[in-house]
């Protein structure tokens, strides 16, 4: 299934994400890493919990607000089986906590701090993701 190339919308959306990361750092001194915020929220109750909760409430409100203001239903196409999605969830959850970050924490915030550690992590998950898609779509077949 092909998707439309959307450079302008994607760039604009990226700028929103960047602005969000800046606000969280300017206001609370915190990195906007979603895996860190979610796992922190799940595992410990401390001085960060209130900020984490407020941030996550904001995340949950974004899509409904966008949909109601623009009167558009955002496209969400999932072509993987439920089993694949459940296994993938486990890998994403385990991998992001074990590797101290995800697309936001390493990919956006880490690279913006000019951190070699985050740059290497980002290159690693981009590469393993690309290889995985190549294997599943072009070697084994499938979609």
């Amino acid at each position: 299934m092909s998707t439309e190339f959307t450079p302008f919308a994607s760039f604009l959306g990226g700028m929103f994400i960047g602005l969000a990361a800046l606000i969280l750092m300017a206001a609370h001194g915190r990195i906007a890493g979603i895996s860190g915020i979610v796992s922190g929220w799940l595992t410990q109750y401390d001085d960060k919990t209130r900020v984490n909760t407020a941030f996550l409430v904001g995340i949950l409100l974004g899509l409904p607000l966008f949909a109601s203001v623009t009167e558009q239903t955002p496209v969400i196409d999932i072509d993987s089986s439920l089993t694949a999605m459940l296994i993938a969830g486990l890998m994403v959850g385990y991998g992001t906590v074990h590797g101290s970050g995800c697309t936001s924490g390493h990919g956006v915030c880490g690279i913006s701090r000019v951190s070699a550690r985050s740059l290497i992590a980002t290159a690693t998950f981009l590469l393993s993701g690309t290889v995985m898609i190549f294997i599943s779509r072009h070697l084994v077949g499938g979609t």
């Binding site: 949950l60 899509l63 993987s80 999605m85 969830g89 994403v92 959850g93 913006s112 701090r113 599943s136």
Partner: protein, 143 residues
């Protein structure tokens, strides 16, 4: 209260950014990783847009003494590239490619009540708890 509003605003902008950019669409993410097939380079523009805002913004914030609502900035300090960073990133990349979801979009899409995404979010939380428990065990076992 103002301080929690700023965290919620950050989350809201982040989520709107994910929606506008198309990152919440798993098909688009998978096509971004499918360089040999239906390649959709849009997500590179998300990253570019975000970093274009966050990188100079962080550089400015690094010169200021404290955040608005916290005693100190929590800039990450680790610079080492260790095995957990790489294995975690490899696993995350595979899960990301298998599903088309990373932690931010998985949470942002929850309000649509898509059962597959909800299932993904549950196993993602489980994976995070396993990785967290494992790192706690490693800390307490003397070596």
């Amino acid at each position: 209260m103002t301080n929690l509003l700023s965290a919620a605003t950050s989350g809201l902008l982040f989520s709107i950014g994910l929606t506008v950019s198309g990152m919440i669409n798993p098909a688009k993410v998978k096509n971004f990783l499918d360089v040999a097939g239906h390649w959709d380079p849009s997500l590179a523009f998300v990253m570019a847009g975000a970093i274009l805002v966050t990188l100079p913004g962080y550089a400015l914030l690094k010169k200021s003494s404290k955040p608005w609502f916290a005693p100190t900035f929590s800039w990450p300090t680790r610079q080492d590239v260790d095995a957990p960073l790489l294995t975690g990133a490899v696993l995350f990349g595979i899960g990301w490619a298998l599903s088309g979801l990373c932690p931010g979009p998985a949470i942002a899409v929850l309000p649509t009540a898509n059962p597959t995404v909800a299932g993904f979010a549950v196993t993602m939380a489980l994976g995070m708890l396993i990785a967290h428990r494992q790192s706690r065990l490693n800390e307490t076992i003397p070596r």
